[in-house]
Amino acid sequence: MSESMNRRDAMGIAFGACAAVGGVFALGGMKAAWDPLPSVKAAGTTTVDVSSSEANVLYTEKWRGKPIFIIKKTKEMNDAASEDSKKRDVIVGDDRFVVCIGLCTHLGCIPAYNPKKSTTKEAFLCACHGATYEIGAINTKAPAPLPMLVPPFKVEGKTIVLGEAGPEYEKMKADGVLGDTPLQA
């Protein structure tokens, strides 16, 4: 009796182990079925020509389905910004640009830009939950926890290429001003 029970247990364990391995592979397959498709991932880079931009005007570009804010700064806007804020500027030729993913870091709404308040702490206002940002897209009022993120970019002549990390981006990363950590507004 006990011999046959042991035999049964062994069969049960062997069956269970095989089923578990199969189950893990099946789960892996199901997980992969929900991953972003290669065509979605390869949607790749967006090139923006900024040579004809006007100062203190918000330009919204689309990159990987996300809105990218690009604003050329005036001298007054630059003077009013903090050191951290200035370090986030993308310099193309002689002009300084604010470039960031235009999604509130609270829950992903798109903040509105107010050119009249470009030198104040409320240059951007997110209407969803009332968060504000200064001109460099650094958060100045809760509930936003972080600055709006700088996307990977590369400066090529008079254009900004979004989706490729150039030396300027790497420098911002080394300085820790991309927006993944809190910054001084």
Binding site: D35, K62, R64, K66, P67, A127, H129
Partner: protein
């Protein structure tokens, strides 16, 4: 072969009994499923929910025949094809939309009835837990369905809710992108939520409904006084003809006849809403097609999610998410947080629990109202206090019930 009546006519009752045990099933599940006499109209909410779910299922089947789960086609397939071309398409949509909203009102009444009468403990824990599982699956079903018309509110609610899965400062963006199948809600997102809405979640709901009904069969339905009834003894009295003396009635058709009367009142209200006041279930913002580059001025969920939304909103990001997660799971734990052995109505349990019950109900109504208003000035402050109130009430529950006198 077991005993069976060779002379029974095909498909007669005896013939079916020999093959499918239909008489036994009817006896066990209906004719000798005993319901206490001492109940009121609130005991009809379960049947109303079952019927409303049926309405959702049938209207959903008709919508399914013309709906197109594609970001380029979804909006028009709902707002043009179904609303203007399909015969009675507008009716199916309005039944579906109104039922999806009203079903939550009844769920909340059903839940608070359970809390008030103590119908979640002393043998009835699984009824409560399976019921809360239904609340969770219904919430997921409502949310996934809200994505389908692919209007502005669909898109932005999808954005905000899926972002919650990045778990705040943990920045789990990979998880969010995995759920969406894209960097932002797009075609992959819409189609998979369509699948969830029309197949996986309804299947889960049907299964849990069976579990919920099953969990009721052994401990039986509670009664107005929380009295412990010997169902076997009372059933015997009833079957012996002493129906007046017995404290119980049959489910079929004694209880059902009462149930159906309450149901009829409900359906009058329901179809009044469907035909004359469907607007409350149709947000005007969602009649603008989804636009990923334009956030609506104010994003808010449907009314039934407002209370938990308002628990998320007044806090900074991480504490807000923790408070939100707390609000989502805490109701499930009610049978274990209530430390009192008394399974009787709130008004018989003494002041502390009675006050707790009404404070919780009022607090959730305040949270609901504040969740709809813009997060500014005095509303922000009231919302913050109400959110704290909710948390404090639940943390206090084990302490105020622990010292309750045994009645």
């Amino acid at each position: 072969m077991a005993h069976f009546d060779k002379n029974a006519k095909p498909f007669s009752e005896q013939w079916l009994q020999d093959r499918l045990a239909v008489k036994t099933l009817r006896r066990v599940l209906a004719e000798e499923y005993w319901i206490p006499k001492d109940i009121n109209f609130l005991w009809a909410m379960g049947m109303i929910l079952a019927v409303t779910f049926g309405l959702l299922l049938v209207s959903g089947i008709f919508l399914l025949m013309y709906y197109k789960p594609d970001v380029a086609l979804a909006f028009d397939s709902v707002n043009y094809t179904i609303m203007q071309e399909v015969g009675f398409g507008w009716l199916f949509r309005h039944i579906h939309g109104v039922a999806a909203s009203v079903v939550f009102l009844i769920i909340y009444i059903h839940m608070f009835t359970g809390i008030y009468y103590g119908s979640y403990k002393q043998g009835r824990e699984m009824i409560w837990i399976s019921g809360m599982l239904l609340f969770v699956t219904f919430s997921a079903e409502a949310f996934s369905g809200y994505m389908l018309p692919w209007g502005q509110m669909s898109y932005w609610a999808g954005m905000v809710i899926t972002n919650l899965f990045s778990a705040g400062s943990l920045e789990l963006n990979g998880v969010v992108e995995w759920i969406r199948g894209d960097y932002v809600p797009g075609d992959a997102f819409l189609t998979r939520f369509f699948m969830l809405h029309v197949l996986l979640l309804p299947l889960a709901i049907l299964g849990i409904i069976v579990l919920h009904f099953g969990s009721l069969r052994i401990p039986h339905v509670n009664n107005q006084e929380g009295a412990e009834i010997d169902f076997d003894a009372e059933a015997e009295k009833y079957l012996a003809g002493k129906t007046k003396e017995a404290k119980v009635i049959r489910f079929q058709f004694d209880f059902l006849s009462k149930d159906i009367m309450v149901l009829a009142w409900f359906l009058i209200l329901f179809f009044y809403l469907v035909f004359y006041h469907f607007g409350f279930a149709m947000d005007p913002v969602n009649f603008d097609p989804a636009d990923g580059l334009k956030t609506p001025a104010h994003i808010y969920p449907e009314w039934y999610f407002l209370w938990s939304y308002e628990i998320l909103r007044p806090f900074p990001k991480d504490p807000g998410l923790i408070a939100f997660a707390f609000a989502q799971v805490i109701f499930v734990l009610l049978p274990f947080l209530d430390r009192s052995p008394n399974a009787i109505p709130a008004h018989k349990r003494g002041k502390p629990f009675f006050i707790w019950f009404w404070l919780l109900l009022i607090d959730m109504i305040i949270l609901t109202a504040m969740g709809k208003l813009p997060p500014e000035g005095i509303f922000s402050t009231i919302g913050l206090w109400a959110a704290w109130g909710f948390i404090i009430l639940w943390v206090a529950l084990p302490f105020i019930t622990k010292n309750e006198k045994v009645k």
